[in-house]
């Protein structure tokens, strides 16, 4: 059957010819409900979409929009409370809604396979991966044990897991996150399914690993002629890897069409808003401000009548947009829009941001000199979290610390704020060395001048206390306001500053959305009137539309208050948008630092180049530079490579010198420093190659 499907698929891979074919997966008028004891939540009110044979369909939406629920419904895994209330899901001509558990079992794994977001929980921790992989062909293809193991080995080779022989005997915890996800993908593909469901398959991975996993998925998809249903909140990923896409909002498809068409001419105001709120490499805070979508996705219980996006839409017209039974309209061939006003509304012109001024002060706000942090590890060895980190930040400047997980950027943040102690080195603020002072040893005045915005909205506020509790305590502890009335007045001002209604002050954190909690955290940090704020991935846990709003807010306040900020992030497009200067870290060491323009100009460190090449844009007309595929994974910080730290993965490695000798610090300008053996002039030359689209042909080197 699969062979037939494959041949049919060959004749009609993409585009219009699909329309004449029977879709592989057809969802029609699907309604999914979760029935609890006392209320019924309609997760998906009405959804129709189809995936053609050999097609890659992207389902985009923010958290809570019902995209994962849809995937679960396709597999018939809605749990005890979930049911498909009406509608149909047809796969390859077979109806899946109401199918018996036996029929479903035959389809799952064999014909439809799924790759989940978190590979660690998708793999059984107590069994070696070989046994888990071999299970699939033994169950679905009815082959013997030896043959199944052989197939597992071959598939591991296909997902480019090095050293496949010994790999089969390893346990999931012995693999890195990227390797685990490759195993999960291998497992999904073993039965040669005709449809692969990918639910945020790269969300937990670092950008360079993500690039490799995505390229792998694209390649395998073509090799095995598998259709994809790719679920993600990341528009850039979808733009790159899908033929068609559907934009989902609060359980409904608001727009659907060919990927290039939708990104070139987004018709629905929500799609337009989503595209406008992603920072892209081509712009910075001086050229445009991120357009945020006001409000938040309605909870299933509070969906408005008519257009679900209505309450957040600038072009909402009462009496027109709030009519029930809105129909999807055809805006072009295969381009469907669920908006009655799509003809009238045009994409809002990006407004240039004129308010932002470059920091003109020259006074250094904080100077880090050779800051090193060692943690004791087993066997007397030490883990180098930071080594000789040196950089400065001027007053009112935003310095971004960039790098993948494990590069030591968060440790550095903890040292600067006093939550941890540096092993050696100096951090000078107002002529004092604060590197070895922990929070409880710091004078109050110093504590007050360095505040922090944390990463996780779910743990930044104490669930037992009201939202304003910590803001209030901060005002009291630092003696900024005296008396209850003055404190309350200030709390109200701060909440207004972060554009929250003052009546949220007494809410408990579990009654606030992620974006609201992060705004409270910002208000708390600014409540102390600090001169330096350390923001550790302040928006990485938020949805894209909320992210834009929070970043814009943070930048606005920072501009007004002239606060220096260390902005920690792994998102380079965001950093490009936010920062004045960038410090790129790898394995605890600074690889490159310079102004935003310098770092993003292309004449940069090979690692920075790899990071830059992993940024995904949504503009179909902009040429995409090829991904730089880094080999392997980041080495353990206990076993730091001698010589250049990046040598084990570098795509531009010169040879033995990189492995043996520590690279020199090259000054390209007064502000731009690169730690690399490659001559400055050569770094420059190669930058042109990076910018020019050059297809990465064949098997990329990966161990």
């Amino acid at each position: 059957m699969n062979m037939v499907a494959g041949q049919v698929q060959k004749s009609a891979t993409h585009g219009a010819s699909c329309a004449t074919q029977e879709p592989l997966l057809e969802i029609r008028d699907l309604r999914i409900e979760f029935r609890g004891k006392d209320e019924t939540v309609v997760a998906v009110p009405n959804l129709s979409l189809s995936v053609m044979r050999g097609e890659s369909y992207g389902l985009v939406g923010e958290s809570g929009c019902g995209k994962s629920t849809t995937a679960m419904a396709i597999l018939g895994y809605l749990g005890r409370t979930g049911t498909v209330a009406s509608g149909s899901i047809r796969f390859d001509g077979q109806e899946l809604v109401g199918a018996s558990p036996r029929e479903l079992r035959q389809v799952r794994g064999r014909h439809i396979a799924m790759v989940y977001q978190d590979p660690m929980s998708a793999l059984n921790p107590v069994r070696p991966i070989g046994a888990q992989l071999a299970e699939v062909p033994r169950l679905h293809l009815d082959v013997g044990k030896a043959e199944a193991l052989e197939m597992a080995r071959a598939m591991l080779h296909d997902v480019r897991l090095p050293d496949a022989g010994d790999m089969l005997k390893r346990y999931p915890h012995q693999l890195s996150g990227g390797q685990q996800q490759r195993v999960v993908i291998a497992m999904a593909l073993l039965a040669r399914p005709s449809l692969l469901l990918l639910d945020e398959p790269t969300t937990g991975l670092d950008v360079t690993v993500e690039a490799a996993v995505l390229d792998l998925i694209t390649e395998l998809r073509h090799r095995y002629q598998t259709s994809l249903l790719f679920i993600s909140h990341n528009l850039g990923l979808i733009a790159e890897s899908c033929d068609r896409l559907g934009i989902m909002y609060s359980g409904e498809l608001v727009e659907e069409g060919a990927t290039a068409e939708v990104f070139r001419r987004p018709r629905h105001p929500y799609t337009q808003g989503l595209i406008a709120c992603i920072p892209d490499v081509g712009s910075d805070k001086h050229s445009r401000s991120l357009a945020a979508i006001p409000g938040h996705i309605p909870l299933p219980q509070e969906r408005p009548q008519g257009c679900l996006f209505g309450p957040r839409c600038d072009d909402f017209i009462a009496g027109l947009c709030d009519q029930p039974d809105l129909q999807r309209d055809e805006a072009g061939p295969g381009h469907l829009v669920k908006c009655v006003r799509w003809r009238e509304i045009s994409r809002h012109a990006e407004k240039p941001n004129t308010q932002v001024h470059q920091s003109d002060r020259t006074q250094e706000a904080i100077q880090l000199h050779e800051v090193t942090k060692l943690y004791g590890a087993k066997g007397g060895r030490s883990l180098k979290a930071n080594e000789a980190v040196t950089f400065n930040a001027k007053e009112a400047e935003i310095v971004a610390l960039v790098g993948e997980s494990g590069c030591g950027k968060s440790t550095l943040a903890r040292i600067v704020t006093g939550l941890d102690r540096a092993t050696s080195g100096e951090i000078r603020m107002a002529d004092k060395n604060i590197a070895e002072l922990q929070a409880d040893e710091r004078p109050k005045q110093l504590l007050q001048s360095v505040q922090m915005i944390f990463q996780n909205p779910d743990s930044t506020l104490n669930p037992s206390h009201s939202a304003a509790f910590s803001i209030r305590r901060s005002l009291i502890k630092f003696g900024l306001r005296k008396g209850k009335a003055a404190v309350d007045q200030r709390v109200r001002e701060l909440l207004e500053m972060v554009r929250l209604s003052p009546h949220l002050a007494e809410r408990k954190p579990d009654q606030l959305s992620g974006g609201q909690k992060q705004r409270i955290a910002i208000a708390r940090a600014f409540a102390a009137d600090p001169s330096l704020i350390v923001a550790d991935e302040p928006v990485s846990a938020l949805d894209v539309s909320v992210q834009a709003a929070v970043v814009t807010l943070l930048l606005d306040i920072q501009q007004v208050k002239k606060t220096t900020m260390l902005f920690i992030s792994h998102d380079l497009a965001l950093v490009r948008h936010v920062a004045d200067r960038v410090v790129v870290m790898y394995l605890g060491k600074v690889m490159e630092q310079g102004t935003v323009e310098e770092v993003f100009s292309g004449s940069s460190h090979p690692y920075t180049q790899a990071l830059l090449s992993s940024i995904r844009g949504t503009d179909p007309d902009r040429p995409k530079p090829p991904h730089i595929q880094l080999s392997g994974e980041m080495p353990s910080p206990v076993d730091v490579p001698t010589g250049c730290r990046f040598a084990t993965r570098c795509h531009r490695k010169l040879g033995g010198i990189c492995d043996q000798e520590a690279p020199p610090l090259r000054r390209l300008s007064a502000t731009h420093e690169i730690l690399c053996h490659i001559e400055s002039a050569d770094l420059q030359v190669d930058a042109v190659l990076v910018a020019a689209p050059e297809k990465n042909s064949g098997e990329p080197a990966n161990d």
Binding site: F34, G64, G79, P300, H465, R473, F478, Q511, S513, R524
Partner: protein, 289 residues
């Protein structure tokens, strides 16, 4: 608030404390537990004004036929005292001693666990090893040794239970604190110059509340059993105070003739312990995140 995990149930966006209480009251388990416990609490509280006979004065006439009758609903014991009255007055001691012991044990245990979990390092090692030693002791032997040496009285029972249960409570608290102290709101508190005691009591303790209340409920149940056992071993409250465990013991000699004399106080113990256990289960359900 996101409704897209694999097993989404009701959204938890709005669940103030009142809703939590409503959930407790809706759970059958919790309701039965609450009923059993409040029955005993009410009866014990009203004991002096209930039309009961004296729990200590024997009714010599009834001794000829001690079985339950119109005059003595649950019969009389071997000394002719009214069992119903003794049970109800006995409940007063149990309901005073058990919660009091647990409260003291909780205070000591929470302090131990909080300090061990928050500071870690050698402080943690010291407290944890000390706890391990106590926990390794057979609890009953520990009680008997303690009470036999310091003599039976309410205070001494409280001291004995505290020594026996504080390490267990400490372990639970330590485990909770180990996780909670990594939370970003604790870091935020440090950055606004809060002192350690404040962080422990205001930032950490309220978030341990759910687990600790459930544990306290279970512990009250166990302590009631322990008090019963101590009474049975003759280490309970000195006579003639009515003591459930003591009542069981006094009538063991006549168990094959008048079994009700032992069975009735046993049922009292079972019902009260069951009440606390069911209540704990119900609370656990309601506090589930």
């Amino acid at each position: 608030m996101a409704l897209e995990s694999t097993v989404p149930l009701m959204t938890t966006a709005k669940r103030p404390a009142r809703a939590k209480w409503r959930r407790i009251l809706r759970s059958k388990t919790a309701l039965i537990g609450l009923f059993l416990v409040s029955f005993w609490v009410v009866v014990a509280a009203l004991a002096p004004i209930l039309p009961l006979q004296s729990p200590t004065e024997p009714d010599v006439m009834a001794m000829a036929n001690p079985f339950p009758s119109a005059a003595h609903w649950l019969g009389v014991d071997i000394l002719g005292r009214d069992i119903l009255a003794r049970l109800i007055f006995g409940a007063r001691t149990v309901l005073l001693v058990a919660p009091l012991s647990v409260a003291v044990a909780m205070a000591v245990g929470i302090a131990m666990g909080m300090v061990a979990g928050y500071y870690g390092g050698w402080v943690d090692t010291l407290i944890s090893r000390f706890s391990d030693i106590i926990l390794a002791f057979p609890v009953l032997v520990l009680y008997v040794v303690l009470i036999a040496n310091i003599g039976p009285s309410i205070i001494n029972i409280v001291i004995a239970t505290t020594i026996a249960s504080a390490p267990g409570i400490g372990r639970i608290t330590r485990g909770l604190v180990l996780g909670l102290k990594q939370q970003e709101y604790v870091a935020a508190a440090k950055l606004r110059a809060e002192n350690t005691l404040y962080i422990m009591l205001v930032e950490l303790l309220p978030n341990c509340r759910g687990m600790l209340i459930v544990d306290a409920c279970l512990r009250i149940g166990y302590t009631i059993i322990t008090i019963g056992i101590l009474g049975f071993l003759g280490l309970g409250l000195p006579p003639p105070n009515p003591d459930w465990g003591g009542m069981v013991k006094e009538s063991t000699t006549v168990l094959n003739v008048w079994p009700f004399m032992s069975v009735e106080p046993s049922i009292a113990i079972v019902s009260l312990v069951l009440g606390f256990n069911l209540l704990a289960d119900g609370l656990r359900e309601a506090w589930k995140p």
